[in-house]
Amino acid sequence: MAKVVAVTGNEACANALRQVNPDVCGIYPITPQTDMMQRFASFIADGKVDTESILVESEHSSMSACIGAAAAGGRVITATSSQGLALMWEMLHIASGDRLPIVMPVVNRALSAPLNIHGDHSDAMGARDTGWIQLWSENGQEAYDNTIQAFRIAEHMDIRLPIMVCLDGFIISHSIERLEYLEDQQVKDFVGPFKNFLPLLDLAKPKSYGPLILTDLYHEYKRAQHEIMTKVKDVVLDVAKDFEKMSGRKYDIFESYRLEDADIAIVILNSAAGTTKDVIDQFREKGIKAGLLKPRLFRPFPYTEIADALKHTRAVCVMDRADSFGGYGPLFMEVSSALYQADTKPLMINKIYGLGGRDYLPSHAAQVLTELNEIAKSGSVKTVKEYLGARE
């Protein structure tokens, strides 16, 4: 039976990690690390898990320790946030290039300078091209469920890639919400025992990871990495199907909300999607056909499916809680790339919102929907990219 609790997103993810009981965990316990790893360290100290923790001197070392442990043949986790993820950057590529199925919740927070550790997607967007799979989560329940599913996706024998589970800093990570925990045994059965693949500790078959590869084959190696990514979507869907059977909670590669007959739509990640859904309901009551699309799988990005889901609309706003200065927001770039290939496409705008933890309010969603409605009527876009709610 599911247990109903009121917990923070961090508590929920830490509990999911406890239920999985991984072999090794790299921990760097200083801000911007959150209390997720602190809670997990308590589970280790209290004997609730058999995990061996490696306390390290930086996040770079934390990922390095995870890489070593995963290559040795263990089920490995860590968690990070903000500058911590930024400092891991070099090692993130090694984890994916070596095909190591490390699971890492990322509490999305801003990057310095100026110093700020509030909710913001700049950290995970900066890791977009590192070869990791990324799942994004609207609330504590999704963060918990995604963490459990992440093991099955990363460790799938056709995939063997590291995975990030993204959740909004403070808004979800430090806020208490009602959610349902699965039973420990259910999680254990769902995730299953860790299957090894070419472990370093198999001394009878010596091997090496990440050796020098020259101009003759590096190009093909990278193509192989891309090929694996193309298989991830189906695995994510299969795992979601099994998860739904167990929990009753349905997951897809993205969520569509009142989108099927929508004239205008907002595309938005994580916690702000919830606030937007409430405002969409208000617009629907006024007779305005508004809808929402919330990506769950951001890497690999499901271009065709997202284009199919949006191509019938007349105007779309893609909202980014991160910026690529001098470019468009990272989510906007993906969605416009997706729609460029479609036979029909909506007019599109990009709003940068909520950087550094700035509140995203219902009035912001209403402002965007009102603008979209005007764009749909007039058929023209004035400004493609704007900062939403910026003080002058």
Partner: protein, 191 residues
């Protein structure tokens, strides 16, 4: 009870305001309700003004932003009445719960409260000092909020206070807080 009850807490760092919001969320979990409890994070300093929020609803809570139009405003430190606008965004029928020694009629006048707005006071700091010797008014404030909102029964709230405080404190402190919560529930004045 309305479908969603939104509460905004005003306190100062170190008074247990955030804990109060957490305990209330936990207590309201019964009956299949959805809950949220979250503080406004800033530089965390003892004595600095802070806000915390609760949402309690019979349906899924999707809104993830601060409470802008509170049904209940709970002020854990009366000195805040002079420094910030605690009535910001209040509705026609908002309930104000104030920890103060003053008469509720005086507070009503100070807040310029409307005819349908309720103004409720409790001397939570004195209750806390009487019950466990420290000026930590959160547990009696919880009792008062519980009384005026009817969100949970007193017995249920006491169970949750026992659980939440039991993790951190000695039996003497727990008993003191239970007594304080009960007195907060009982010693409500309205004007």
């Amino acid at each position: 009870m309305a479908e969603t009850v939104e509460i905004r807490w005003h306190g100062r760092g170190g008074q247990g305001t955030v804990t109060a919001a957490k305990v209330l969320a936990d207590a309201c979990l019964s009956g299949g309700r959805h809950v949220q409890a979250f503080p406004e994070y800033g530089p965390e300093r003892a004595g600095a003004p802070l806000r915390a929020y609760n949402r309690i609803a019979s349906t899924e809570l999707r809104m993830h932003c601060p409470v802008l139009e509170p049904d209940v405003v709970a002020v854990v430190d009366a000195t805040l009445l002079d420094s910030i606008n605690i009535a910001e965004g209040s509705k026609e029928n908002t309930i104000f719960v104030i920890n103060t020694t003053k008469d509720p009629k005086d507070i009503r006048a100070k807040l310029n409260a409307g005819p349908k707005q309720r103004v409720v006071t409790v001397d939570a700091t004195k209750i806390a000092i009487d019950c466990f010797g420290r000026a930590l008014p959160n547990s009696p404030m919880l009792g008062t909020v519980c009384k005026v909102t009817g969100l949970v029964t007193l017995e249920h709230l006491l169970d949750d206070v026992r659980k939440s405080f039991g993790k951190k404190f000695s039996q003497k402190i727990i008993d003191g807080n239970l007594e304080a919560t009960k007195r907060g529930y009982e010693e409500v004045k309205e004007g």
